[in-house]
């Protein structure tokens, strides 16, 4: 009897190509569009940034160092001169900061003379020009070694059309300035730099990386996002079909055939579970074949899918019961037109909204699709089923509670009156 109800539901699904297309075709199209369109964003790829930076030194640092040594009025040992050469601020900026391996991937540094300044300022291809005034390094050295405070600063000319590049250069210079200030502080307080470095290392926390976890691509993400969202429409479709059965007295006809309402109820529940399970398998199967979305832990995947299908079955039977109770399809329409979108947004189907706030993340995880999504993504990253127990338990509980509420609200007699 229950098998006949499920078979009949399946036939109704299959005979309705528009509905079928919406349930299966739409998520596939969305995965395709979102997965491709947002691949760079989701894969953590940086946009291509090229910063063309010019530096103009009004006076050579070597000349300033020589002058500083002469002005000290005493014979400095060669080692001290060499040490000062190693800490010349502009040279360090050029070599260690702007010329570092990481920075040089996107910063092209060009040293220019005073004659080129005007040209560079008029050339829109340059992101910024750093102009170092005369005596800059001399005054820095004076401050470090003689504690004579003189305000020295470099001038930064920026091209407002290259906002991202300007902010990068600005950030680098600010950070570098902080380091110079720190260095000045160490000298002022006569702290041994070696001891200071060691202490710094002692207080540095361990930074663990997540490098052992598998990266989730945009196609992975949106396959899961669209699947967990669209499978909810299975529940609303079953609810709508069931309400149609009520309004056309087909349900009464079933009751008049002496079929227990619980048989019908279980038929609806199992239809929801089975169709949701098949729907998820279909979407994930398609994504596996076309996009190469593979599951490192098939057991975990299957278990999560089954739990999610139970939750969807629960929603299907709850919607059915509420429609019967209220004698209106308004609840199913509200669910499919508003609630699913809201739950999908909170659950992160459209973009990882949970990353923006811990509260939203928690809210997302108390929606069935959000919990399902978190569980699926975790499995995709290579985690074990035990790592997603909380989500799986939530899905199962959600399903069971929905079934209990549905059973309580289901009409006790026929639906005619």
């Amino acid at each position: 009897m229950i098998g006949q109800i499920i078979k009949k539901q399946a036939l109704e699904f299959l005979r309705n190509p528009v509905q079928l297309l919406l349930l299966v075709g739409l998520p596939i199209i969305l995965i395709l569009i979102l997965g491709v369109a947002l691949s760079g964003f989701m894969n953590g790829e940086s946009p291509v940034i090229k910063v063309k930076l010019a530096i103009l030194e009004q006076e050579s640092e070597e000349v300033q160092l020589e002058r500083f040594a002469d002005d000290l009025g005493e014979e400095l040992p060669t080692e001290a001169i060499e040490e000062m050469e190693n800490i010349l601020p502009i040279e360090r900026l050029k070599q260690d900061v702007l010329g570092s391996e990481e920075a040089s991937k996107y910063i092209t540094l060009e040293e220019i003379s005073s004659e080129d300044k005007e040209r560079v300022l008029n050339d829109n291809t340059y992101t910024a020009l750093i102009e170092v005034p005369e005596n800059f390094s001399y005054e820095i050295l004076q401050y470090w070694f003689s504690a004579e405070e003189k305000r020295s600063s470099v001038h930064l000319y920026t091209n407002t059309e290259h906002q991202l590049g300007v902010s990068i250069v600005d950030g680098i210079l600010t950070q570098y300035q902080d380091q110079l200030t720190l260095h000045s502080f160490i000298n002022e307080k006569q702290i041994d730099p070696v001891v200071f470095e060691e202490n710094l290392q002692n207080v540095t926390a361990d930074v663990s990386t997540m490098g052992q976890q598998r990266a989730v691509s945009s196609k992975d993400y949106y396959t899961v996002g669209m699947a967990v969202m669209n499978v909810l429409f299975i529940a609303s479709t079953i609810g709508s079909i069931a309400f149609l059965e009520k309004s056309t007295f087909v349900f009464d006809r079933i009751i008049l055939a002496n079929v227990s309402r619980w048989t019908y109820f279980i038929g609806i529940l199992l239809s929801g579970m089975i169709f949701a399970f098949l729907h998820l398998l279909l979407i994930f199967g398609f994504a596996w074949i076309v996009f190469g979305v593979t599951w490192p832990n098939l057991f975990g995947f299957t278990f999560v899918t089954m739990s999610f299908a139970i939750a969807v079955g629960g929603i299907a039977v709850l919607l059915t019961a509420l429609c019967y109770r209220l004698n209106s399809e308004v609840i199913t329409n509200f669910f499919s037109s508003i609630l699913v979108s809201l739950m999908a947004l909170l659950g992160g189907s459209f973009f990882p909204i949970g990353d923006s706030s811990a509260f939203i993340s928690k809210m997302g995880n108390v929606t069935p699709n959000g919990a399902g999504m978190s569980a699926y993504l975790s499995i995709l990253r290579g985690n074990e089923l035990s790592d997603v127990t909380n989500h799986v338990v939530f899905l199962l509980l959600f399903g069971v509670i929905s079934i209990i509420v549905a059973a309580w609200s289901f009409p006790k007699r026929g639906a005619a009156l």
Binding site: F249, D252, R253, A257, R413, G414, A416, L417
Partner: protein, 310 residues
């Protein structure tokens, strides 16, 4: 066989059915007449055990069906007013599904489906989905489904609504056949008087939830044995003409539609001269004036003051 005892159904403060008493003997075709909202469908829901009465009882072979609705459901077939079918499924699939609901299977079910399709004249369309059927074909299949388990009692709730005359005749003939050949007892609700006159052995008339008359065709028509009906037709009927008729002391009752006025007068009264005079006064031209013996429709009009299809 079936008895309704003081049957009532109340929704909030409104009685949909109030203290209805009726009986049905085996092999009878009983007509339940009344306009929309008379309480027929509510009564049918209670008779078929789908709705619980507020008070009163439905007894089948002297046992309350409220105590054991399951036993009663095994022998009753209900044809709802709506097309209670899966329109995306074929005729065959619908019969298969409902047959399985009635616990029929294997060759029994197969033979039953063939028999039903033959009875309702849909054998050649058995593989077509129901939504491609005409209204009449859907109605016939709707009847077929209710016959799958060979019910003793068939309850038909306005089974001919919205169908073509050919299908309507087919359905009426089928009901007659079922009654004669299978000794099937039928409760037939309708607001088509001629259907009830053609089919039914006895008639119950309902209005506003109350049973207002019952008896055979002839017994009910005898209610108006001292009256006659005059039917007046005109394309120009106006308020003045209607009020002149209504105010005439010999007119017992008047019912008006767009182009027709029906009035009841004592059998010996002749109104022709007055009617011509009234028409002149109101400035209208009469198309026809007919005297006729009362029909069930007239009885209903007499009893309720409104036409059956109001």
């Amino acid at each position: 066989m079936l008895e309704l005892v003081d049957l009532s159904k109340k929704f909030k403060q409104l009685y949909a059915v109030k203290n209805v008493n009726m009986f049905v003997e085996r092999g009878e075709i009983i007509g339940l007449l009344g306009p929309n909202g008379a309480g027929k469908s509510t009564a049918i829901s209670m008779i078929s055990s789908l709705a619980e009465p507020t008070s009163g009882d439905v007894r089948f072979h002297n046992e309350s069906i409220l105590k054991k609705p399951g036993d009663f459901r095994n022998i009753v077939g209900v044809i709802p007013q709506e097309i209670a079918l899966y329109t995306d499924l074929t005729a065959d699939e619908n019969l298969q599904f409902f047959g399985r609901m009635y616990r029929l299977k294997g060759s029994t079910l197969k033979n039953k489906i063939n028999e039903i399709l033959d009875l309702v004249g849909l054998t050649d369309r058995r593989k077509d989905v129901v939504k491609t059927f005409s209204g009449g074909m859907k109605r016939r299949l709707n009847i077929g489904v209710a016959l799958l388990h060979d019910p003793e009692l068939l309850i038909m709730d306005e089974p001919t609504v919205g169908i073509d005359p050919q299908s309507r005749n087919y359905i009426l003939e089928t009901v007659k056949r079922l009654n004669k050949e299978r000794d099937m007892t039928v409760i037939y609700t309708s607001h088509y008087m001629e259907e009830v006159e053609f089919l039914c052995d006895r008639i119950y008339i309902m209005d506003h939830g109350n049973l207002i008359a019952s008896g055979t065709n002839e017994e009910i028509k005898r209610i108006l044995s001292s009256e006659k009906t005059i039917s007046i037709k005109s394309d120009q009927l106006n308020e003045q003409f209607i009020s002149l008729i209504q105010e005439h002391p010999l007119v017992n009752r008047v019912v008006t539609t767009d182009k027709e006025i029906t009035l009841m007068v004592a059998k010996e009264v002749s109104m022709f001269v007055e009617l011509t005079k009234f028409a002149e006064q109101a400035g209208i031209e009469l198309t026809s004036v007919h005297n006729r013996t009362p029909t069930l429709e007239d009885v209903f009009l007499h009893l309720t003051g409104r036409a059956l299809r109001d």
